[in-house]
Every structure is written in C-alpha cells, then in structure tokens.
C-alpha cells in the first residue's frame, strides 16, 4: 500500500476556467459529473413523461410539442433509455459521487491521474451533446430502442430516425465508452495505489469497494461495447456485413450478406449485463454506508458484503445470454445461462439479509439519507424477486419483451439505483456544499417518490403477465391489450405526480446550497475519512495532513468508547476493530 506520492499533488488553481471548467480537482470534476447527470435525468424524465401521456392520449395535440406520432414515441423511448442508462445511472453514482468521495475516503489528495480525470468528464460531456443532437437532425432520433438491435439499427431505410440520427446515437455511445474506460483506469489505479497508511483493502468503506468493483466491470465491459459500436458504424456506412444477413427492406434487396444479427446481441449484452451492476453496485455501497451510519451499528457481515459484491461482478459477466432466451440462441446454452443467473441471486440475497441484519437491534435515526437507503432496500427486494421469474427460460417464454421486464429493470437498476443516488446526495450534500438540506422537504420528497415509483412500476408486472408487449406506442390494435388501458392510465397519473415531486428535490438542492444552515464537519456523526476533514474539504482534501487509519469503516456502538462511534483515524483502542 503506497501513500500518496508528491507527484500527484498540484497547487490549487486560481483562474475561473482552471478552477471550475477544466479543473483537475477530483471534487470539482465530481460535481461536474453530478450536474451533468442532474441535467440528463431531467431530460430523460421529461421524455418518459411524453411517452406516458402519448400512450394514454395518442391523438392529443399538445401545445409547443404538437402531436406525438408512433415513430416519435419510439425515438423518445430510445433516447430515454440511452440517456438514463449511460448519462444518469453510470455517470452520477460513479463519475459523480465516486470521483468526489473515493480519494477522500481512502485518504488520498486526488485521483491517480487528474488530467485523465478531466478528459474523461469532458469526453462524457461531448458524448451527451452528440446524443442530444440526434433530436435535431433530419429524420430525428433513432427508433431502434436503447438496445439498438440490427438489422433495424443497421439499415437507414428500416425506419425514420435510422439515418443520421442513428449514426449520432452510435457515435455518442462510442464516445461515452472511451470516457468510461478512462474513468475506470483512474478509479482502479487510485484505489490500489493511493490508499492512506493503515487503509488496508479490508478497511475500505463499502462505497470504495463498490466503486472499485464497478470500475473493473467498466474496464472489461465498455471496450466490448465500443468495438460492437464501431462494427455497427462500419455496417451502416462502409458496406460491411457484420450484423446484417441478406435482407429485403420495403421490397428492396439490401447490399448485405452473411452477417449475424445475434452477434450484436451477444456483444451488446456482454456489455449490457455488467452495465446493470455498474448502475446498481455504487447504490449498494451507499446503502451499506448509510444504513450502518444511521442505525449506529457496524455493518452486518462486512466481509460477506465485499465477497458478495465481488461475486456479483464475477457472475455478472457470465449471464448475458439470459437476455437472449427467445432470440434463436441455442436452447442448450439457455439452460446454462439460466443456472448462472440464478447464482447471482445468491450474493444479492446475502446483501439483503445483511442490510436487515445491520438495522436489527440498532438505534435508527430517520434523517433523509436513511429514508432513501431504506427505500433502496425495499426496491432492491421488489425488483430483485422478479429476477428468478425472468431467469427461467420457460417462464421467459411468456415474460420476455413484456412490461414484466420493464417493471423488473426499472425497479432494480432504475429506481433502486436512483434511490442510491438520492441517499448519496442527501448524505454527502453537507460535505460537498457546506450546508444542510432541508429535512422536511426531504421527507415529503421521499414519501411521494417511494409511493409513486411503486404505483408506476408494480402494475407493469401485472401487465406483463397479461401479455402486454413493451415498446408499443398504442394499445388499441390488439384486443386483449386494449383491455389493459385503465391500468396504463393509472400508471400515467402516478408518473405525473411522481415527476412533479422531483421539483421539491431540485428546489431543496439549490435553495439549501445557498440558504441552508451551515454544516459542521461531521453532521451525521459518521466514521469514514471524509468526515475527518473540513466542510467543504480543502483543495488537497486534508489540508496538508496525511490521515493515518487505525480502524475499520463502521465502528458504531463500540462498548467502552467515549462516544457511540469511533472514527477511522481515532487512536487505537482495545475494544474497537
């Protein structure tokens, strides 16, 4: 374990541009990622609002946006998925909070490669702009969904938006992959090389473990997606046939031969499944941190939590085929993928048991971060338990590509991950901005959001069982689906209310940034290193000191200790670990 070498230190910049725009400071870059994700999440949420109102009032002409056509609906869903998965669920937990907190939590002055860090943010930013630009080109944004299955995504004549819009979409994802690879390298190196004296791997907060494992997943997954995307661009623009066999679109024989549409699915999901864990692992880390802190109790089974995350990461790379049970892939391999997928349920269950075990016989304080961590556990359970349905190929026959799947992944990697982000925001806001967020607004926001998300996503499971296929812009064409419209209407109203409630959060965020009560250095009475430094932390994080770590990360309620928590840097005692 190396202490931070002086070579990493850089003086605090003075000019505005070097300080806030092209900053090398991981804290500023973390905030840049955070605000990029905040912008993206509101764009993505607005698109989902348009989708929900279109499904219920398909012919309504709206002010400004006009009528939403079926192809517009498909563009909205493509962009919603892409923005949310890449620019929110990957960007906020890892790029945002990981960047800001990882170096501080391990006692380092900055990330290992500050310039690379700056580059990875600005590359991500360019990717986002390129993605949004797809809305404004001829033909509009692509309609092939966030999974972009060829031949639909490979042939410009296959639908509106499959021209320049689709090229921009692929380019944006390729740019994002490059940015994420840079970020992943930085996170891994920082974790391995820059830990403070005494900060052994097994003394790292579980948040650091989650960012570290996420970075490893990112390093292995994004390279594959990048290659897959480049092949797709070649198919589209240079006449290759990696993914496209001999096909006839609108009566015209295409100039392709011999490609395999399934090749894309294998490559895409080889990335796509680990991506699910890239989105949710940091949420698991934050939930663990917050649950322990606010239960005033050590995390239950620290080692089991670490091994469970490692197991999830490991198995995460062996289950991509469960997205392809109905694709024409060999039914023999489906069976293997099914068993391996069920194996992932085991470490997930361990984590849930341990979270409950952490709260058990604790003294729970209900500040807003804790409410979101509890909500995270509830959503993780609900979203997780639909997994063993989808993991069985024989049940997937009925459920694949229905709303059951949409409900499943929204609960587990969508909203649960978002709850992780909310918990992180409410928890670290005092450290990042030096002020406290308003608790009353936080609670109102939490209760509406938890009830609202269940009201939106739980009915999707019922719809899926009844055979409601996903990605339908209207439900009137299929008789059995038309009967399900009342449930869809209910979900739309729930979505409108839940989306409206998010403005409470935004108001609280910006109001508290300037008007909230000043935060102390350790307002939650927490133990990890970020709470040992000033609020907000100085440029080099610890004001010239190098912290020395003597304890594990979650030493709460230690018998005989002077207060109910022992910080990681507190002197060695006989009772605390």
């Amino acid at each position: 374990m190396a202490t931070a070498a002086p070579v990493h230190a850089h003086a605090a910049p003075q000019g505005f541009i070097r300080k806030y725009i092209f900053s090398l400071d991981h804290k500023v870059i973390g905030l840049q990622y955070f605000f990029l994700a905040l912008t993206a999440v509101f764009v993505g949420m607005f698109l989902s609002l348009l989708m929900r109102i279109h499904m219920i009032w398909p012919t309504q002409v709206w002010p400004i946006i006009g009528e939403i056509k079926p192809e517009t609906y498909l563009s909205l869903l493509t962009m919603h998925g892409t923005i949310m998965v890449f620019f929110v669920l990957t960007t906020a937990p890892q790029g945002g909070f990981g960047n800001y907190m990882l170096p501080i939590q391990i006692g380092a002055p900055d990330m290992a490669f500050p310039v690379l860090n700056m580059l990875s943010f600005w590359t991500t930013f360019v990717g986002f702009i390129v993605l949004l630009s797809a809305f404004f080109v001829a033909g509009g944004a692509p309609l092939h969904g966030w999974t972009g299955y060829p031949p639909l995504s490979a042939v410009p004549s296959a639908g509106p938006g499959e021209g320049l819009g689709a090229d921009l979409w692929i380019t944006s994802i390729a740019i994002f992959c490059i940015a994420s690879l840079m970020g992943a390298l930085n996170f891994i190196t920082t974790t391995l090389d820059l830990r403070a004296k005494g900060m052994t791997m097994m003394r790292m907060p579980l948040t650091c473990w989650s960012w570290f494992i996420t970075a490893i997943l990112g390093l292995l997954a994004f390279g594959v997606l990048l290659s897959a995307g480049i092949l797709l661009l070649l198919d589209r623009n240079l006449g290759t046939s990696f993914y496209v066999p001999l096909i006839v679109v609108n009566g015209v024989v295409m100039a392709h031969k011999g490609g395999s549409p399934l090749l894309w699915q294998h490559l895409f999901w080889f990335f796509g499944h680990p991506e699910v864990y890239i989105a949710i692992l940091p949420g698991m880390g934050v939930a663990s941190q917050v649950l322990s802190t606010f239960s005033r109790k050590p995390i239950f089974g620290y080692k089991a939590m670490v091994y469970a995350m490692l197991a999830i990461g490991f198995f995460g790379f062996m289950v991509w085929g469960h997205h392809m049970f109905m694709s024409g892939m060999s039914p023999y391999s489906a069976f293997a993928f099914s068993i391996l997928t069920m194996c992932i349920g085991v470490p997930s269950a361990i984590k849930t048991f341990n979270w409950l075990g952490t709260m058990w016989r604790g003294r729970i304080r209900f500040q807003t971060p804790m409410l979101y961590a509890i909500g995270f556990v509830s959503l993780f359970v609900s979203g997780g338990l639909s997994g063993p349905f989808l993991a069985q190929p024989v049940l997937d026959i009925q459920l694949h590509d229905t709303y059951f799947v949409v409900g499943h992944f929204h609960l587990i990697m969508g909203v649960a991950a978002i709850f992780g982000i909310f918990a992180a925001t409410y928890y670290w806001f005092p450290k990042m901005f030096g002020r406290m967020m308003n608790e009353t607004l936080g609670r109102i926001h939490f209760f509406i959001t938890l009830a609202g998300t269940y009201a939106i996503f739980m009915p999707m499971h019922y719809l899926g069982l009844a055979g409601q296929t996903r990605r339908y812009s209207q439900f009137t064409e299929v008789a059995y689906q038309a009967k399900l419209i009342p449930l869809q209407t209910f979900m739309t109203y729930a979505a409108i209310i839940t989306i409206a409630a998010q403005f409470i959060f935004v108001f609280n965020l910006f109001w508290s940034m300037f008007k909230g009560p000043k935060a102390s250095d350790n307002p939650w009475e927490a133990t990890t290193l970020e709470w040992t430094t000033t609020t907000p932390p100085p440029h080099d994080n610890f004001g010239g000191r190098t912290p020395v770590v003597n304890h594990g990360p979650y030493e709460y309620g230690v018998p005989g200790a002077p207060r109910d928590y022992v910080m990681q840097t507190d002197p060695v005692t006989s009772t605390a670990h």
Binding site: P261, F300, G328, A334, V346, P388, F389, Y454, E477, Y480
Partner: protein, 268 residues
C-alpha cells in the same frame, strides 16, 4: 417516522401482493400442451418468491419501526456479523434458486430440445414490417423455394414471402395472412424474417420465439383448445411494431382440412 415507514412499506407490500393473489390481471387461459406445465412453474415461483417478498418487506417495515432511536433504546448490539448465519442463508438461497431452475428445466427441454412428433403439421411463419404470413407446404409436404429477389411486400401472399413459382414443390404451397391450426396436433413451425427481427408471440399458447433474418428457426407446439388467439409482435421492429398483429384460429381437424382444401382450390 418509523411508524410512517412501516405503514407505507406494509401498505405497498400488501396491495401489490393482493393483485397477484387475486389474479386481477393474469396470464390468459392456456390453450397449448405446454401451458399447464408453464403455469405450474409460474405458480410455484410465485409462491416461493411471494413468501420471500412478504417476509423481507414486512420484516423491513417491522425492523425500522421496532428499532427507531428513542431515548429509552438499549445500546446497539456491537456485532460485525455472524459467519454461521451467512453460510446458512447462502446455502438456502442457492438451493432454492438453483432447484427452481432445475424444476423448470424439463419443460424447457421438451419445448426446445426435442424434435417435433412424427406427423406434425408443418407451417412456416414469416415476419416482415409489419405483417405476419403463414405458409403451408401443401399435399407434397415440401416448401417450395423462395428468393429474396422475388419478395414484394406490397403484393401480399406468395409475393410477400418471395415464393418462386418455377419450383415444382411451390405449386401447392398455400400462403395466408391468418394462421389456422388443427386442435390437438403437433405443429412444426419454421420461423423466418425477411427484414428486421420480429417476435412471434401468442400469449394464450404460451409461445414466443424471435424471427431472425438469416435464420430458419424450428419450433414446435400443440394447441389443445379450439378458439381464436391473438398474435402480437414482441420485438421492436420499427414504427408499425404496435400494429403488427395477427390471429391464430385453432379449429377441429375436420375444419382445418376443409379450410386448407379451399385455399388449395383458390390457388388452382
């Protein structure tokens, strides 16, 4: 606050469970030989996952209420976990989850590993933006040749699937826009697509399979109840995806023979 959380979590849990248990929205009535097996596996999974769901969520609600910090709360249990417990719940979950998959494995194998029974009715399903076509090989039992160059979606029927009229075995091929199947007979399906990926989904028959361009995917099923069943495309295939709809009419063997003979007669 603990009580408010308990009430909300319990309310969400019990409401969600009620609609599953009451089957307010549920699988359509099954009409194929595989349906009872699949539905049994569904029921089993629902019961097991339902128990875990209720235990975990109700437990979560209880714990946050029971262990709310009060001035009178006892000191917390200073514990870093319990290895024995970790091993027990790891083993139990592993056995439960993997066992569940193995139990469903037979149904999957019979559906997708085994070949169709002898004497199965042959039907070819072709997907295209945004319609389904069904081809019956006729008395010779052999599908005639097709060619991409002959495909003309606007012509419908034989032209849409690119049937080559100069091939002798194509003379008696019947191509229709609606699927007819005889009841209680095995059906040997070939699934094709001429443009993008589609997915042939008939909820009542518990059947779904993607139709992938470049592949000819063989599947089999056996309808067991006379009736009309809707087909919905389940793989995003373009702007008309939502209206790529079709019908399967399951009829008696007698009616099926009559229907097929009438189509053959029309063709001559």
């Amino acid at each position: 606050m603990g009580l408010a959380l308990l009430l909300l979590i319990w309310l969400i849990t019990l409401t969600s469970t009620y609609f599953f248990a009451a089957k307010t929205w549920w699988l359509p009535v099954g009409a194929s030989a595989a349906a009872p097996w699949i539905d049994h596996q569904f029921a089993l999974t629902f019961v097991l996952m339902g128990i875990i769901f209720l235990a975990a969520q109700l437990g979560l609600g209880y714990i946050v209420w029971r262990y709310s910090a009060k001035p009178s709360s006892p000191p917390v249990a200073y514990t870093h976990g319990n290895t024995k417990l970790e091993i027990v719940w790891t083993a139990l979950t592993a056995i439960l989850f993997i066992g569940l998959t193995l139990m469903g494995g037979n149904v999957w194998a019979s559906q997708r590993w085994d070949p169709p029974e002898n004497g199965a009715v042959k039907v070819e399903v072709t997907g295209m933006q945004f319609a389904w076509y069904f081809r019956y090989p006729g008395p010779d039992g052999t599908y005639g040749a097709t060619s991409p160059k002959l495909i003309d979606p606007s012509s419908g029927g034989e032209g849409a699937v690119g049937l080559n009229p100069s091939d002798p075995s194509s003379k008696d091929d019947v191509v229709t826009g609606t699927m007819y199947l005889p009841v209680n007979r095995e059906v040997d399906l070939s699934l094709r697509s001429i443009d993008v990926i589609h997915s042939f989904f008939v909820p009542s028959l518990r059947f779904k399979q993607d139709a992938v361009p470049g592949l000819n995917i063989h599947m089999h099923l056996k309808p067991t109840a006379i009736g009309d069943y809707e087909i919905a495309c389940a793989e995003l295939c373009g702007l008309g995806h939502y209206k790529m709809h079709g019908m399967v009419h399951v009829v008696s063997q007698e009616d099926f023979d009559k229907w097929l003979a009438a189509r053959e007669a029309e063709k001559q």
